[in-house]
């Protein structure tokens, strides 16, 4: 793992919860959407907070795709462990939502679980690439 790869994982961790929180804030303004009027979901994108949330989620997706190109799915997903803590902090201090002690404990357990997995190798299966890389994949396996 080099600095570039760590930065990509930080991007995955930070963009997702920030984008989700902006979506939440925007959806609070839009209001409840009934299944009888599904088109209202499409119109929700016109809300600036929802639009900004989508922009950040695009940043998340770019980082996520890059990470998935050199690491296992079961390694990349734990990278968002810090994101759960961030989400709790954003919900409590910026969105002023009530986050109970039990929910905080849950968030901590999730974070510890996903943090646990990052001590292993990031890639466990050698994939035949259509577009050859100059470096062998085995260099990625040993951390």
């Amino acid at each position: 793992m080099n600095l570039r790869k760590y930065l990509v994982l930080v991007g995955v961790s930070v963009f997702a919860p920030t984008g989700d929180s902006l979506l939440s804030y925007g959806m609070k303004q839009v209001g409840n959407i009934s299944l009888a009027h599904p088109l209202n979901l499409l119109l929700a994108i016109a809300n600036p907070w929802v639009a900004l949330g989508i922009l950040l989620l695009l940043g998340f997706f770019a980082s996520y795709m890059t990470a998935l190109s050199w690491a296992d799915l079961t390694f990349v997903l734990p990278a968002s462990s810090f994101g759960y803590v961030l989400l709790g902090l954003i919900a409590r201090f910026i969105l002023h939502e009530q986050v109970s002690v039990t929910r905080w404990l849950g968030i901590a357990l999730v974070a510890s679980g996903v943090g646990f997995v990052t001590s292993g190798p990031e890639l466990t299966k050698r994939w035949p690439h259509r577009h050859k890389r100059p470096e062998p994949v085995t260099a990625e396996v040993s951390r």
């Binding site: 979901l41 296992d72 079961t74 929910r103 404990l105 996903v114």
Partner: protein
Amino acid sequence: MEHAFAVLQLKGLHVIRHLSNLHAWLAIFAVVITSSSGDMLVSRAMKQIGDLGEMRRRRGLIFVALLALRNKYFLLGVGCMTLSFYSLLYGLSWNNVSLIGPAAASLSFVANAIGAKFFLHEKVDHRRWTAALLVGAGVILMAL
């Protein structure tokens, strides 16, 4: 009469809260199924394509974008993720982000661990299974 009206109001509030939770958990279930499928499909596409960062430096961003857009797994994955996004929006319109976000993401993590083993043939060892169980327990605590 006033007492009966107050009881009715209280019951109405309970129904609204129950309905809100039902909608939220339906949305969480939809997000888990669609996002896990999307994650696995995109992961398979990215493994076929190779290191995106390195390829972008060598061949440019447009080349990388075209490669991704020509991959059927990527397109299917993005379709699933779009469904997941709208399910998330629906869920957020019924409940708080501190429930919807972590619950959907954590359950997706467990579903992904199972899918990665059988669909992507990743070596999901005891460390990764333990992490999945810890995440599952965390979700239960968050839902209480």
